[in-house]
């Protein structure tokens, strides 16, 4: 199931360290919040995960809100060659202690020096789609042919 939701292109984008990763969440006040989470990666079980370094960050609070009340989050990827992807995900669990958390904690500190790690969020992908402009424009024109400027379509007026 999961591998079908995340196609090969998205997996490639996630594997590319140059890909920009943004996580959009909503909290109890309904205000949307976007944060870049470069640690976002694919897990062996097909879910996504990222390292949360700040306990009281808005994203962390919003993810708690989301797991509590069954809300989804939105993840955007932008590759170095400007391909965009969007993943809708559901927070599945948060690791704050235990062997698995410790592995991430140790790895994060080896990579980034004296940082703290508050949590590792595991997010289950429930839908995904490509967001690159050219791809979306083609889809739009095919699905909604009536929503276009006429001057682009005439054969005489160019």
């Amino acid at each position: 199931m999961m591998s079908a939701i995340l196609g090969e292109e998205i997996k490639r984008a996630l594997a590319d360290p140059g890909t920009v990763r943004a996580v959009a969440t909503v909290g109890k006040d309904g205000a949307p919040h976007i944060a870049f989470k470069q640690s976002l990666r694919l897990r062996g079980d097909g879910n996504l995960e990222y390292d949360e370094g700040i306990e009281t960050s808005q994203t962390n609070k919003n993810l708690v809100y989301s797991i509590w009340f069954g809300k989804t989050v939105s993840i955007s990827l932008l590759t170095p060659d400007r391909c965009g992807y969007n993943i809708v995900g559901r927070p599945l669990r948060v690791l704050i202690a235990g062997r698995e958390f410790r592995t991430h904690y140790t790895a994060a500190r080896e990579e980034r020096g004296d940082i703290d790690l508050s949590a590792v969020w595991v997010i289950e992908p429930v839908a995904s789609y490509e967001q690159s402009f050219d791809k979306r424009r083609q889809e739009e024109e095919a699905a909604h042919p009536l929503l276009q400027h006429l001057d682009r379509l005439t054969v005489t007026g160019q």
Binding site: K61, V64, I96, G98, A119
Partner: protein
């Protein structure tokens, strides 16, 4: 089995409470009910326990267990459910316990055949099977929660040594007399164990001390104070003499004692538990505390602690629900809620946080025949305590969900 076979007909069910309070985390509601009712493990759930990985044996102020049942549970959102400290299953006889079972390969909570939520078992820390240089097993000295090291230097309470003085919900003395625990732990053992435990990366976020009252010394409680200062001074050296994330719950010290505690150790936060927020109920339920310090003076000492430790670094714990114990407690949950929250508001206005534990009716306590309140009561109380702290902009970092894990109200403060 429950004391009252028909208890389910007399109160709203878990799912009804979750539906009625859509602004309260269902995870926290489930945790609260599991703490209230306790758990029993199925054979499959016990087969999923790996004693090399999971925490099974535990020696603490309220526990002395060596069986292979898990000490406790964690939920998917990181919430701890403290079911194990004081025993599980038949220790919670006022209502039927939840079952912990394995369904579709997952460890889950089950009630009346319905899967409620996935859980995992607490894991064992690295220091657990080691011994101190004196040959003491380290697990006898420091008890772990998922992210906290708990030290209980005095495993009995002096109030229980005076007939009629022990707190009526308390099982510390019963657990002490049932087992083979020493009354006082050795300071060197404690400091060595903490030093060893701190080597584990990414586990501990807090060092916590509490224990039974020690009444002796030149002034009342000096013996207790000296005991904690001795231990804390040793631990403070591990942090280069600096203040470190830590909490002490003690009998309410005087201003001079609090000053000495603060200035001679790296202790960061302080708690003295009022247990119940009502003067006459305090006198009935906590007679030793009432006779030696008194309700109003206890509160004054908490306010003085704020002057010394700072706002947001002092709180007081209540055994939520004992205010409804009979015959002297409130007659209705409505009355109990109004009175408790109004007193919590007054205390919080002085910069002291109020945190609630879920009262479990234990066989070893004077209150063993009582019945704890409805789940709905606990949910309303937790929500009220969280709202009061927000009203006064009072941080609860010192006692948040990662630390004790026994306070539904501080779980709610996560968002």
């Amino acid at each position: 089995m429950s004391n009252d076979r028909n208890w389910r007909e007399k109160e709203r069910s878990l799912s009804e409470v979750i539906r009625k309070y859509p602004d309260v985390s269902p995870f926290v509601i489930i945790k609260t009910d599991v703490q209230r009712r306790g758990v029993l493990y199925t054979e499959k759930a016990l087969a999923a326990v790996d004693p090399d990985i999971h925490l099974t044996k535990l020696r603490s102020d309220y526990s002395n267990k060596e069986d292979l049942t898990p000490v406790s549970l964690t939920m998917r959102d990181g919430t701890s459910i403290n079911v194990g400290d004081e025993g599980s299953g038949d220790a919670h006889s006022d209502r039927d316990p939840y079952q912990v079972d394995v369904v579709d390969g997952k460890i889950v909570l089950v009630d009346e055949g319905n899967v409620i939520e996935e859980v995992s078992y607490w894991e064992k820390p690295d220091y657990y099977e080691k011994v101190t240089s004196r040959g003491t097993p380290m697990w006898h000295v420091v008890s772990p929660r998922p992210q906290r090291l708990c030290i209980h230097p005095h495993q009995q309470c002096d109030f229980w040594k005076t007939p009629g003085y022990g707190c009526k919900f308390c099982t510390m003395s019963a657990v002490y007399h049932a087992g083979n625990k020493p009354e006082l732990l050795n300071t060197q053992d404690i400091v060595e164990t903490v030093a060893e435990a701190l080597k584990e990366p990414g586990r501990n976020v807090n060092i916590f001390l509490t224990g039974g009252t020690l009444r002796g010394g030149k002034n009342f409680l000096d013996e207790e104070l000296d005991c904690y200062i001795d231990i804390l001074a040793g631990i403070t050296r591990l942090f280069g003499g600096k203040r470190f994330p830590s909490q002490l719950i003690s009998t309410a010290f005087s201003r001079e004692q609090l000053r000495r505690l603060h200035d001679s150790t790296g202790l960061a936060s302080y708690t003295a538990d009022l247990e119940v927020l009502n003067k006459s109920l305090f006198e009935w339920i906590c007679p030793g505390k009432a006779a030696t310090i008194g309700y109003e003076e206890w509160k004054n000492r908490l306010y003085e602690a704020v002057e010394i430790f700072g706002r947001g670094n002092v709180d007081t714990g209540i055994v939520a629900g004992v205010e409804l114990a009979q015959p002297n407690g409130f007659q209705t949950e409505e009355e109990a809620l109004e009175s408790t929250l109004s007193e919590a508001d007054e205390i919080s206005s002085h910069g002291v946080g109020v945190v609630g534990c879920v009262w479990k009716v234990h066989p070893g306590s004077v209150f063993r025949k009582q019945t704890s309140p409805s789940l709905e009561y606990y949910v309303r109380l937790a929500r009220g305590l969280d709202q009061i702290r927000r009203k006064y902009n009072l941080s609860i970092d010192m006692d948040n969900y990662r630390r004790c894990g026994n306070h539904p109200d501080t779980d709610l403060s996560r968002i």
